[in-house]
């Protein structure tokens, strides 16, 4: 936890001294579109996933810190630090993730592919659910026990995204391999649609005008694994999403995911705030 606190303090210091850049944060929490971070820009985001399970199981809160940096126009890296806390079960650092997204094609196309590769060094207490793969409900063992079960995972995604008449339509296919255990490749999906509510931009600064809002919905879930065929006991959610560009630099977003199957939590409430600024070049 001291690492998290240090990072939050450093982030706050950077924010105070940063120069403006317009955040282009997607409204989705799980689905990725084809828009990468601008080269030389750093985005710092804090978010939280609050899970409300069924059958009176313990609820949980899983906050995470996300640092996203645009290395080039076609390559973006992200580092995640995540933790988890439950009502009567204490808190734990749940691990880190290192993500890379590559956009192989030069310009805009009808369908824009992005390749995604992520290495995860997490433990079984992880609850942020940035993606859902495989099958089976989340474990309800105590956090103290779950955090002892480490997992090194390699995750790949094929991201397909299109801009269609003002709408963004994105589809992600997810493959995840736990390198620490003898198990198959787990599969998952997410799809999202969203659009800006604005038309013409107004000439003045405004907070509540339509152009500052993006709305949409996403659906995500697991598709079993190569060793366990079938969709039984898989988790699926559908979630309306909303993004609000608070200022030129920051975006607030929220969603409520509704569990669609018996294995799914009843609700996944997500809230996030992102702040983007240039750290290299620019003015």
């Amino acid at each position: 936890m001291p690492i998290l606190r240090l990072l939050v303090c450093c982030s706050a210091a950077v924010l105070i001294t940063a120069v403006p850049a317009r955040a282009q944060e997607r409204p989705y929490f799980v689905t990725y579109d084809h828009y990468l971070e601008e080269p030389g820009n750093l985005e710092i985001a804090v978010a939280n996933t609050i899970g409300l399970p069924k059958h009176g199981d313990r609820g949980y809160s899983a906050p995470w810190l996300e640092l996203e940096y645009g290395i080039t126009g076609w390559w973006t890296v992200e580092l995640y630090l995540e933790s988890v806390t439950t009502r009567r079960d204490g808190s734990a650092f749940a691990g880190w993730r290192w993500e890379n997204r590559f956009r192989p094609l030069k310009g805009e196309h009808r369908i824009n592919p992005v390749l995604y590769v992520e290495y995860e060094n997490i433990n079984e207490a992880s609850r942020i659910q940035k993606e859902i793969v495989g099958s089976g409900p989340l474990s309800i063992e105590p956090i103290a026990e779950l955090r002892r079960e480490h997992a090194h995972e390699l995750e790949g995604k094929l991201i397909l995204s299109s801009a269609v008449r003002g709408w963004n339509v994105s589809e992600n296919v997810i493959f995840e391999k736990n390198l620490s255990a003898e198990e198959g490749v787990e599969l998952g999906y997410s799809v999202g649609v969203s659009r800006s509510l604005g038309g013409l931009a107004s000439g003045t600064t405004c907070y509540f005008c339509r152009e500052n809002f993006v709305m949409g919905a996403e659906a995500y879930g697991g598709l079993g694994s190569t060793s366990e065929r079938g969709l039984s006991d898989t988790r699926h959610f559908v979630a309306p999403v909303v993004g609000w560009h608070l200022t030129g630099r920051s975006t607030l977003k929220a969603s409520i995911g509704f569990g669609l199957t018996e294995a799914s939590d009843r609700y996944l409430v997500r809230v996030g705030w992102a702040y983007e600024f240039p750290v290299r070049g620019g003015r």
Partner: protein, 160 residues
């Protein structure tokens, strides 16, 4: 298991160090002042005209959008920075509104120019309006003459 974990931790640290070391080097090669000569709008895209051409009320929004979306790289005055090239040049401003709109929309990932297709279409046309404002009055006639063929389809008269 412990051996595996140690191995993965070592690999993770090495990879992270590699990225931290080489990312700035790789990044320096992207974007910047250089232009991509192969970045040319298709003819049908270049022929499109700006639907906001006769709406002066849209210009203020273009100014705001330019500051939010473009100034970080191209500067408040559009004359460039170490991240992005000068836009107030004859070769940029001689391009048609449709070509500028196409470039704003699609970007050029190889050149470091992001895609702005997530912006509503009217807002991208507002940015084109703002780009036309970059054209210095004294240069307008010159640009129009030098790039007379193909004809310059701008939101405003090039002699303004």
């Amino acid at each position: 298991m412990i051996t595996n974990e140690r191995r993965f931790s070592t690999v993770s640290i090495i990879v992270t160090l590699l990225v931290v070391t080489f990312a700035p080097v790789v990044g320096r090669g992207a974007g910047g002042q250089e232009r991509d000569p192969m970045w040319i709008a298709p003819a049908d895209a270049a022929r499109r005209t700006n639907p906001l051409a006769n709406q002066p009320s849209a210009e203020a929004g273009g100014e705001k959008l330019f500051k939010q979306r473009c100034a970080t790289c191209h500067g408040d005055d559009g004359r460039g920075s170490e991240k992005g090239p000068n836009l107030a040049t004859a070769d940029v401003l001689a391009q048609t509104d449709g070509a500028l709109f196409w470039k704003i929309s699609g970007g050029n990932t190889r050149g470091g120019m992001p895609s702005f297709s997530f912006l509503p279409e009217p807002q991208r046309w507002q940015l084109v309006l703002r780009l036309r404002e970059l054209q210095p009055r004294s240069e307008a006639v010159t640009v129009g003459d030098r790039f007379a063929d193909p004809p310059v389809r701008t939101a405003r008269s090039p002699t303004r």
